[in-house]
């Protein structure tokens, strides 16, 4: 069935709720309202108010309560309305969700999936366009996933719900309703921790994820360049092997991401390439990313976010280096 990302995620949540009574959804406006992006539309009517829970407005409370539910054997899926409000839940994620398994040597675990919309491009107010994937990846103990389309979104989410770990599931707002894909009605999983080679090529490797996958694909198609596109899908833990295999084959690497350039996923990927594939490189590794500044207000965001022109120019430069 053709689905956009909103319906694919809704479908995954529906399956998860149907599969197990341990699964509960909680968050601000997730029930009656179906969420501000309508991702949880219809689920409260179907599964009841005690399984799709409209909570008080408190991100740390939502996340901390979800951690408690998980410790007690439920499998909560909290929604934080926007990633920009998730800083209020940061302490719970870093100090507790990420650490329970480690601090108790596996005797207490936090199986849960925290969903939140990320990224810009929808002309939203301040705090509604954040790209915090690296903040959660740096800690250790949290799995961080960011799908680039409806098929992966459903499969990765179902995989996340079946794991016994805390997963931060980042949903690019811009892609929510951008396009439709063929998505099976039944349950299926997409492996977490495994990158997806979207296009095989030999001239250069473009490593990307989330919102930047579409513009990268468009540019490669338009320019008819023989690029290999690697959608890493899982930010943490990184699928280093797939990245290195691609770079060793092409000899040229570019990392494209929407988050600020400095200390970003690009730095991590570039460092691993430098450590393990330097002598196979024919050109320096290149990063195309947002500028190293707080995400701007909507009138400025098109000046900040990497677009097809910037990606295209970078490809030309990398190929001529």
């Amino acid at each position: 069935m053709q689905m956009n990302m909103v319906s694919a995620i809704n479908n995954a949540l529906d399956i998860a709720l149907r599969e197990s009574n341990d699964v509960v959804l909680l968050g601000e406006d997730v029930g009656k309202d179906g969420g501000v992006f309508r991702v949880t539309e219809g689920l409260q009517a179907k599964y009841g108010e005690d399984r799709v829970i409209d909570t008080p407005l408190a991100e740390s409370g939502i996340t901390g309560t979800a951690i408690g539910m998980a410790l007690a054997g439920l499998h909560p899926i909290p929604e934080i309305q926007f990633a920009g409000f998730m800083y209020l839940a940061f302490d719970q994620l870093v100090s507790h969700a990420a650490r329970f398994r480690s601090r108790t040597r596996g005797t207490l675990t936090v199986p849960m999936v925290v969903r939140t919309p990320v990224g810009g491009g929808v002309r939203a107010l301040e705090h509604h366009s954040e790209n915090p994937e690296v903040l959660y990846s740096h800690i250790g103990g949290l799995i961080v996933v960011e799908p680039s389309g409806p098929y992966d979104a459903k499969g990765l989410l179902l995989r996340a719900v079946h794991m016994q770990d805390p997963v931060v599931f980042l949903e690019p707002t811009r892609i929510y309703r951008l396009f439709r894909e063929e998505v099976p009605d039944d349950a299926y999983e997409v492996e977490i921790g495994k990158a997806n080679v979207l296009r095989s090529g030999s001239a250069l490797s473009i490593i990307t994820y989330g919102t930047m996958v579409q513009p990268v694909k468009n540019v490669v198609e338009k320019k008819r360049v023989d690029a290999e596109i690697v959608d890493i899908r899982t930010i943490n833990p990184l699928d280093e092997a797939t990245v290195l295999a691609s770079v060793k084959k092409t000899g040229r690497a570019m990392i494209v991401y929407e988050a600020p350039l400095s200390f970003g996923a690009g730095a991590e990927v570039a460092a691993r390439i430098a450590e393990k594939a330097l002598y196979e490189l024919q050109a320096p590794v290149m990063r195309v990313a947002g500028p190293s500044l707080p995400y701007p207000f909507p009138a400025y965001e098109n000046f900040a976010t990497p677009n097809e022109k910037r990606i295209g120019d970078a490809i030309d430069k990398l190929l001529s280096a």
Binding site: P56, G61, G64, H96, L108, M163
Partner: protein, 340 residues
């Protein structure tokens, strides 16, 4: 029970008899002896930073005895008596305070969480566990602890608020020991009591003498009996006779006279006076118990000190699986002999 061990018999909970009181008193003694031992180990460099519970034993022992087996315990970091009464292995307890994660491993059926260092952040976990109990229609309550300082944190209020909205079986004990490291209770809030903070969340709240084991016992027992109807906030007014932790020097911010005034209200001495008055306890019993408990503690310390940390355990308990990139780091450290 007053400072001299006198009780108003009409208020004595019906399920507390002399035998139970003796048992509670013995746990107070064990808690205090273990507390002194770990403090001593820390001073010898044989334990990590430690947070003594001296003077606050009535809160922990009173609450622990009021709980049923199925009730769940969510600590911060000072509820040592609670761990002991609920059967946490003493050697593991010592191991935790030696700075070893294996000491934080929770035995099956313990019905409690590990130590939570960031104050008040554990209360939302209590709310979540209470939600799970209610959701599954389990007859169980959750007991959480927070200090007077912790009541200034946002998570304290967020959790109480959640518990109120969903009418969760969550009992939160404010262990008001008058000091948040160097700052007195008056620096935390202009509110007259800490208990009244529950009013804003629309939940039941009560203030008790936290140095009166029976008062704590009764308040917790009543709260558990009422847990199916919703949460309770209990402020137990007590006093931290010792330091915040072993890295704290209380002489910088409070006088000996302040401490001496509270020493007269010692929660353990008053139980002893009560039992002695009823001919249920004497010096010979005290001596015999001290010897038995010392043996128990020495055995626990010996077992804890025999533990050898395996660096691999750091890596192998982060995720439910071993990511390839983490495995590389583990193998690299081992093959380079960094751990030898």
């Amino acid at each position: 029970m007053d400072e001299n061990g006198n009780i108003d018999a009409s208020l004595l909970p019906g399920d507390v008899d002399d035998a139970k009181m003796v048992s509670m008193y013995k746990y107070m003694l064990l808690t205090r002896a273990l507390d002194a031992k770990i403090l001593s180990l820390q001073r010898q460099g044989r334990a990590a930073t430690y947070a003594p519970s001296l003077g606050e034993e009535a809160v922990h022992i009173g609450a622990a005895f009021a709980m049923r087996k199925q009730d769940f315990f969510v600590p911060n970091f000072r509820q040592h008596g609670m761990y002991i009464v609920r059967g946490f292995p003493l050697d593991r307890f010592v191991l935790y305070w030696k700075g070893v994660e294996e000491g934080d491993a929770i035995p099956k059926g313990f019905n409690g969480l590990s130590v939570s260092v960031p104050v008040s952040t554990q209360i939302p976990h209590g709310a979540g566990i209470a939600y799970a109990f209610k959701y599954r229609k389990q007859d169980a309550a959750v007991l959480t602890f927070v200090g007077d300082g912790g009541t200034s944190e946002g998570d304290f209020y967020e959790a109480l608020n959640f518990a109120g909205v969903f009418k969760l079986p969550l009992i939160t004990i404010i262990e008001n020991n008058q000091w948040a490291i160097s700052q007195p209770r008056s620096r935390q809030t202009a509110a007259k009591t800490l208990a009244q903070k529950g009013i804003a969340a629309g939940i039941s709240c009560v203030q008790v003498d936290g140095n009166d084991m029976l008062a704590v016992y009764k308040a917790v027992r009543d709260a558990i009996a009422n847990a199916k109807n919703g949460p309770t906030l209990i402020e137990a007014v007590t006093y931290r006779l010792s330091m915040h932790t072993t890295s704290d020097d209380p002489t910088k911010y409070r006088t000996d006279a302040d401490v001496a005034a509270w020493q007269k209200k010692d929660p353990v001495a008053r139980v002893k006076a009560y039992l002695a008055g009823k001919k249920q306890w004497d010096d010979a019993m005290e001596q015999k118990t001290a010897e038995e408990q010392q043996k128990q503690i020495d055995d626990a310390v010996a077992k804890a000190e025999a533990f050898k940390p395996d660096p691999r355990s750091m890596f192998e308990n982060v995720y439910s699986f071993m990511p390839e990139v983490l495995k590389q780091e583990e193998d690299a450290a081992e093959s380079a002999n960094f751990w030898r």
